[in-house]
């Protein structure tokens, strides 16, 4: 398992993440693991004491983690959001757009290929959790100052 | 008999294991018996053929005839476009499938 890539400059949390149930029961952990099928809404009232959220992708086809990440970012979470598990090269771009800023894939990713994948698309069609400007806004420059 | 079949990775063509390699002609298929899984795994890893799998077939006077209609259609081609099958001029090919 690799700890790559990471897109944050702060120090990584060094304590192991606990499950959502364990996190909600105890107060001394700042790292939580969201497993596929967990209702992340339950975490939202506690976000101010979270430093790291790991979101597990049990199989790459299981895309629940993408929504989990969006929900966390939409709720204002700014801490580390790490995708763990079956994280394949071709998912990283979408994960970044959903707000993930670190990765711990089961199988290490090739840095060059990650770089290429993240820069593959010159534009985006819609708003997401990143700060990419959607095409519709590029088409109407007058809207960018609103 | 047990024969091994799959689709060529690059072309998608239907292929059959002839004992040494992959052939487009079902009649060259050999009985792989107990070796099916071993060969399939090895060939899958070699990335020459998409997910090779074993099927039952029969050795007839007419050649190798897969037990299931799906594999007979794979061996021949679409029954509704005989011109595109492997036996375009053979009036008996339809009957071989069904």
């Amino acid at each position: 398992m690799g700890e790559y890539p990471r897109f944050r400059t702060d120090a990584a949390a060094d304590e192991p993440a606990v499950t959502l149930d364990a996190f909600l029961e105890q107060t001394n952990s700042a790292s939580v693991l969201i497993e596929a099928g967990d209702d992340v809404q339950r975490l939202l009232p506690m976000l101010d004491r979270v430093r790291l959220v790991e979101v597990d992708f049990p199989r790459f086809r299981d895309g629940r983690g993408f929504s989990t990440a969006r929900i966390l970012r939409e709720a204002g979470y700014t801490g580390e959001l790490k995708a763990v598990g079956d994280v394949l090269l071709d998912l990283v771009y979408f994960m970044r757009r959903c707000g993930f800023d670190s990765f711990a894939p089961n199988h290490p990713l090739d840095p060059q290929q990650v770089e290429a994948a993240l820069n593959r698309y010159p534009h985006v069609y819609q708003d997401a959790a990143d700060d990419a400007v959607p095409i519709w806004k590029l088409r109407h420059p007058q809207l960018r100052h609103e | 008999m047990i024969v091994l079949t799959g689709n060529d990775l690059k072309t998608g063509d239907v292929v059959w294991w002839d004992g040494a390699g992959w052939s487009a002609d079902v009649n060259t298929a050999v009985d792989v018996g107990q070796e099916a899984d071993t060969i399939a795994l090895r060939e899958d890893a070699a990335c020459r053929v998409n997910v090779p799998y074993a099927i039952k077939a029969e050795h007839t006077s007419d050649g190798v005839r897969p037990a299931h209609i799906k594999d007979r259609i794979r061996a021949l081609g679409p029954t509704v476009r005989m011109d595109l099958t492997r036996r375009p001029d053979d009036a008996g090919a339809q009957d071989w499938v069904i």
Binding site: R70, L88, A116, Y121, P122, W136, H140 | R74
Partner: protein
């Protein structure tokens, strides 16, 4: 119709480059088939019985002559000279080589086409009314909204690994020509009491092994919030759908398990949240897109008279044309169901001949229909005769729209790796049995739909007469269904009883139709008679 600007073009070009890289990694052995499969499916590439199959998107069923000629070029250069129009207004090629696919996608990109959204667990190419922009009965052209949604959902980061496929349909008339309620998500443009334009929204439909018709989840959604609403629906489904059984992951199953009321409640709550994020496309962007769909320069003062001297032409014009919103114009339906041929198949030469007709007589526009036919949407009535002659030359002048020989059929076991039985030969034999034009006319509207497996690509659940091919101990067997509809009077067909072999199913269809002729009241379609007398009125005739 819509044209790409440099942004759209750069996105599609990037997609081609990405897939070229992915194909190379697969060929080089850096990826297993399991890993490659979802990537190729995101580019419309399946592995079927005889070869790879490439499904090319025809967004909301609209294309122009330049695109049609490119489809012909691809058929000729990379396939075996033909293509197959599908029940979701797309086209697919049956004999594709993996190594060629990046070049094919690059060729398509030169005419603003692609294979995005045509397969895999993704938001699929949006289907729409094939008469959009031409129909006499539409409120407005629905296609600007389809194009806006196409862009909004393309490469959507949150919804690119959905539980299953997600099919959207969009229309703007009371008549439903797009099988609205058989989609996961469907929109009908309506006006409310205040005269404002909005969407009537349906959710949770789909065919497959567990058919459901979509229910009305909202009677009026202001148009400007459509993207927020779609995202709300997708998020509720993505978070809560089962992931343990591929047959139970479509949205219709979640709707069924939660109940319509609870599903609606969750979607509404999520929708209110989405609105706070302000992700909807603004009016200026809608206006920019809508500009591309301004009506072509129709002529005023044209004659409505149609040439009457040649009976073959008169019969064709009578059956194959529909009312256009402009006087002097007609909508022309081109049958891809010549008796004895393969439903939806078309040769490269025929594609080019139709492209010529579209360019010359229909403001360069063409449409594909979910019934696997084509449409020339804007033809001057005075040109109909010339169009007919062109179609006669192309071998596509059959006059059978919505008649017993206008059969929908999936590729079935002749091509498809999922199929259990062949569909096409059954369609061909039924068509041959009823080939006599007088007999077809006497029977009237009768939509037969044939699927070669329970996935129901041939829409058998929505067939007035449906046929489902199954595998019965290694031989092909066909179940007969009656009473379905994919139109505005949508209903689900019911199985008559025990199945039939290949010859038997054709006879059973004939007995069903003869029974209808016996039972019908004046003016009744087959479906009307069935609804009046029920299955009981047919059972004995079918099974004796």
């Amino acid at each position: 119709m819509y044209r790409y600007d440099r942004y759209d073009q750069e996105m599609v070009d990037a997609r081609v480059a990405e897939f070229r890289d992915q194909v190379q990694r697969r060929i080089d052995g850096q990826m297993t088939d399991d890993q490659f499969k979802p990537l190729r499916l995101k580019n419309g590439l399946y592995l079927q019985l005889h070869a790879y199959m490439l499904r090319v998107a025809i967004p909301y069923g609209t294309l122009d002559s330049r695109q049609m000629r490119m489809l012909a070029h691809i058929a000729r250069k990379y396939d075996r000279g033909y293509g197959h129009f599908t029940t979701r207004q797309n086209i697919q090629y049956n004999w594709i080589r993996l190594a060629d696919t990046p070049d094919i996608l690059a060729d398509l990109a030169t005419v603003e086409m692609h294979a995005i959204q045509t397969s895999g667990e993704s938001i699929r190419n949006i289907s729409a009314d094939q008469y959009a922009g031409a129909a006499a009965d539409e409120i407005m052209d629905p296609r600007p909204w389809a194009e806006l949604l196409r862009q909004a959902t393309t490469f959507h980061p949150e919804f690119s690994y959905l539980p299953r496929k997600f099919k959207i349909a969009l229309i703007a008339s009371a008549a439903d020509r797009a099988a609205l309620r058989w989609h996961d998500f469907a929109l009908r443009i309506v006006k409310n009491a205040e005269g404002e334009t909005g969407f009537q929204v349906y959710a949770g439909g789909g065919m497959g092994r567990t058919p459901f018709m979509a229910y009305e989840i909202r009677d009026f959604l202001p148009t400007q919030h459509i993207f927020s609403y779609v995202q709300a629906v997708l998020r509720v489904w993505n978070m809560h759908a089962r992931r343990d059984n591929i047959h139970k992951q479509r949205m219709k199953i979640l709707v069924h398990e939660l109940g319509q009321e609870e599903f609606t409640r969750q979607v509404e709550a999520e929708f209110q949240h989405m609105l706070t994020l302000d992700t909807d496309f603004p009016q200026v962007e809608y206006d920019r897109i809508a500009e591309y769909f301004t009506p072509p320069p129709f002529e005023a003062g044209l004659t409505d008279r149609i040439e009457q001297s040649e009976p073959g032409f008169v019969a064709w014009a009578d059956r194959q044309t529909a009312a256009h919103k402009m006087p002097g114009y007609a909508i022309v339906n081109i049958s891809l169901k010549p008796v004895g041929e393969i439903p939806g198949d078309i040769s490269a030469e025929q594609m080019e001949m139709i492209a010529d007709l579209a360019e010359r007589y229909s403001f360069d526009e063409l449409r594909a229909t979910h019934a696997q036919n084509l449409v020339l949407p804007h033809v001057r009535k005075q040109d109909l005769y010339a169009v007919w002659q062109g179609l006669v030359a192309a071998g596509l002048a059959d006059a059978n729209l919505d008649l017993v020989t206008d059969i929908i059929a999936c590729p079935g076991l002749d091509y498809c790796s999922l199929a259990n039985a062949r569909s096409i030969p059954v369609a061909q034999q039924i068509a041959e049995r009823f080939a006599d034009p007088e007999r077809q006319k006497d029977i009237g509207e009768l939509k037969i739909k044939i699927s070669g497996c329970i996935n129901a690509c041939g829409h058998h659940h929505a067939g007035q007469i449906g046929i489902l091919g199954v595998d019965r101990k290694g031989t092909e067997n066909y179940q007969l269904l009656l009473g379905g509809s994919g139109a505005e009077d949508a209903s689900q067909a019911k199985i008559t009883g025990p199945g039939f072999d290949e010859a038997g199913i054709v006879d059973a269809v004939e007995r069903t139709i003869e029974q209808y002729r016996t039972l019908r009241n004046p003016g009744e379609r087959f479906l009307d008679t069935y609804r009046r007398v029920g299955m009981e009125g047919f059972k004995e005739a079918i099974y004796g």
